[in-house]
């Protein structure tokens, strides 16, 4: 063909629409930049998109369609862990490289041969936050954990990662307190927390859940700090939490001030979203990782010299997947990124929400791979 075809499974409808859409924009920016600079191996990249509607079954249909009908060389997406769980099986069956966008469930790629993630481990990121916390003069003797129990990542974080790491850091933690994803009234859980009135409340949940917990905490007069790992590290929480969110500490996998390229991406990303009528305060680390995903594929394609010809699809897919082994990659989220297992090692940025701003509190470089 005239182009090199890459599959892209996105969630542009359904309950993940908003987050899915911003990732879409990040993909588009990267593809446009690459094509404007002359494409890959002399050919432009063509991103073939499939909307999963936030439904795992449709993610699987998308994978099959892109692989069997559209002859793509690799797939970026699907978006969430639930979708990735199903679609990764298809990728393995058809032996096609797949890089999910924001699927951060622990162990997701453990069994997978063809699935790779540009995503940092939750426990590593939370450990970095705790390190910064203990190094600071913020009181942190006692803590309570609130976690969303019916959401995969939050559940794992709240019941395993948080307690273990906090105890290791010498923090006294109570029994983790579950909340449900759909509930909106956290008063019972918060009333229990207020009984011990800890220095720290660690929340494991997506922004909408974290927001409800924080608002209820403040309403019942809580004055300590709220912390959380990457799960709700979305720049938009500044607005969503409002004044009640002041002092919140989270870890993000992306800092727009890291390099010039990162800043450029962030600005362009925001202006493009604004043009679509979507209001964002900054690129989420998954947006940056989506953008980097395209460049990662570009590097693979250049290294293997793929042509995108229809009759060579099978070999080229295999070559690209094989080329992931031992790769080292420079992107806007970090430099010399390498993979342990199938998950990337990325830097972490501890963010503090202060005075309605997303400010850097501390940072930690990516770990070395072996």
């Amino acid at each position: 063909g005239d182009t090199i075809k890459i599959g892209n499974i996105v969630a542009s409808s359904g309950f993940l629409k908003s987050v899915g859409e911003s990732a879409e924009t990040a993909f588009d920016i990267a593809v446009r930049e690459i094509n404007d600079a002359g494409g890959v191996n002399g050919k432009p990249i063509e991103l073939i998109r499939y909307d999963s509607g936030s439904d795992p079954r449709q993610a699987s249909v998308g994978a099959r369609k892109l692989i069997q009908d559209d002859d793509v060389l690799a797939i970026l997406g699907p978006f969430s862990s639930g979708e990735a769980r199903v679609a990764l099986n298809d990728a393995d069956r058809f032996k096609v490289l797949m890089i999910p966008t924001a699927a951060s469930a622990p162990g997701l790629t453990d069994e997978s041969k063809y699935g790779w993630r540009l995503t940092e481990d939750e426990s590593k990121q939370f450990g970095r936050l705790l390190a910064a916390l203990t190094a600071s003069d913020i009181p942190h003797k006692t803590a309570e954990i609130v976690y969303v129990s019916d959401e995969v990542v939050a559940n794992a974080a709240g019941t395993e990662l948080y307690p273990t790491l906090m105890k290791a850091a010498g923090i006294e933690v109570g029994e983790p307190i579950p909340v449900q994803f759909k509930s909106f009234d956290m008063s019972a859980q918060v009333a229990t927390i207020m009984k011990t009135n800890p220095d720290i409340v660690a929340v494991a949940g997506l922004p909408q859940s974290a927001s409800k917990v924080i608002k209820e905490l403040r309403r019942q007069g809580y004055e300590g700090r709220v912390i959380g790992s990457q799960i709700f590290a979305d720049p938009n929480i500044v607005e969503l939490f409002g004044p009640e969110g002041d002092g919140t500490l989270v870890v993000a996998g992306f800092w727009p001030g890291r390099t010039e390229a990162a800043t450029t991406f962030n600005t362009e990303f925001l202006s493009e979203l604004e043009a679509k009528g979507i209001h964002k305060l900054g690129a989420h680390h998954t947006d940056a990782q989506a953008y980097d995903g395209v460049y990662l594929l570009k590097q693979l394609m250049e290294k293997t010299g793929v042509t995108g010809d229809e009759d060579k699809v099978d070999e080229e897919r295999a070559e690209m997947a094989a080329a992931m082994e031992g790769i080292s990659f420079n992107g806007i989220v970090g430099d010399d990124i390498c993979f342990v297992g199938h998950d990337a090692e990325l830097p972490g940025y501890v963010i503090e929400v202060t005075g309605g701003k997303w400010t850097k509190f501390a940072e930690a470089p990516a770990d070395k791979c072996e």
């Binding site: 409808s13 359904g14 309950f15 993940l16 629409k17 908003s18 987050v19 859409e21 129990s149 019916d150 307190i177 579950p178 909340v179 449900q180 759909k182 509930s183 909106f184 009234d185 008063s187 019972a188 859980q189 009333a191 229990t192 009984k195 922004p207 909408q208 927001s211 409800k212 608002k215 403040r218 309403r219 019942q220 938009n236 607005e239 969503l240 939490f241 409002g242 009640e244 979507i278």
Partner: protein, 305 residues
């Protein structure tokens, strides 16, 4: 002390469910119509209010009055949507043979509306949660060391007054009787001069109003709205309605509060994970012991042989 606070929390939460449960009961007891769009109307009220408060109000309203005005507009949006639902669902429903599954027919279209409204909201406002710019944290007071939410108290009083009015209307006005006649036998009702197209919208307006009210109070109370805000409240309100019994508006009030209490006490004693099993298990047990709910009467039958 903590337990007392939890019970108060349960009552407060229950009062949120009550408004929506009454909306459900209204359509099902008067029209024998299980209106599944109610949670969506509630969500529309919340999201439209937010959208207006965030992106700017019509009539150039701004300043301290902006958010109440936005809430009023949200309620109006909910009423309009409810009327639209009436126009395309109930009007085409015919309890022709009074058979056991017929009340489900409008269910299909009300779900069609759910798809339409939910996705339209996503198209215009996205799928994220949004902060509602009301004076949320100021509206809590402490009575003897117990936190009490003022908006919930206010909303509870409003709903009670509304229910008193509704009960009176159903018993003593010809509209009430006309509505019941339509629900049972539209054909005979029409012959007697009842005009479904004129009086059924009244019920839908009331439903929309209740949902609008509930949506507004939710936004002020929790300082947050989202395109998913109707899901949990909707199913819990249904649970409340059923526990209370379908025929009775007071049943819905009692049921809503019971569900709120069960939820909070379950969280207190067993954690949030047990809520789903506790609330719905309690509902099942209630139904198996009293098949018509606590205060309900039996549904419309076919008459004797």
């Amino acid at each position: 002390m903590l337990l007392v606070q939890q019970i108060v929390n349960g009552l407060m939460l229950g009062s949120v469910y009550v408004t929506v449960a009454v909306a459900f009961t209204l359509t099902i007891s008067i029209l024998n119509f299980l209106n599944f769009t109610i949670p969506t109307l509630f969500m529309v009220a919340g999201m439209v209010s937010w959208g207006l408060a965030y992106f700017g109000l019509p009539f150039g309203l701004s300043g301290p009055l902006a958010w109440p005005a936005a809430l009023a507009c949200g309620a109006v949006a909910s009423i309009l949507c409810s009327l639209l639902v009436e126009r395309f669902t109930f009007r085409y429903m015919r309890t022709r043979h009074g058979d056991s599954t017929e009340h489900a027919i409008p269910l299909v279209s009300s779900l069609g509306f759910l798809l339409i409204l939910e996705n339209l909201i996503r198209i215009f406002y996205g799928s994220d949660s949004q902060r509602f710019p009301g004076p949320s944290s100021d509206l809590t007071t402490q009575i003897g060391g117990i936190f009490v939410r003022i908006p919930q108290l206010v909303s509870f009083v409003i709903v009670m007054v509304l229910i008193l009015g509704l009960v009176w209307m159903m018993k003593h006005t010809r509209i009430g009787r006309g509505l019941r006649a339509i629900a049972e036998n539209p054909d005979a009702a029409t012959i007697l001069g009842v005009e479904p197209n004129k009086i059924v919208p009244v019920v839908f307006m009331l439903t929309g109003l209740l949902c609008g009210l509930a949506g507004a109070l939710f936004a002020v109370n929790y300082g947050e709205v989202s395109p998913m805000m109707g899901e949990d409240i909707g199913s819990k309100a249904i649970a409340g309605m059923v526990v209370g019994g379908l025929g009775s508006l007071w049943g819905a009030v009692a049921g809503g509060i019971i569900v709120g209490l069960v939820e909070m006490l379950t969280i207190h004693f067993f954690g949030a994970d047990a809520v789903q099993v506790a609330v719905w298990g309690a509902l099942l047990v209630t139904l198996l012991m009293r098949p018509q709910g606590l205060f309900g009467h039996n549904a419309i039958g076919k008459g004797k042989l």
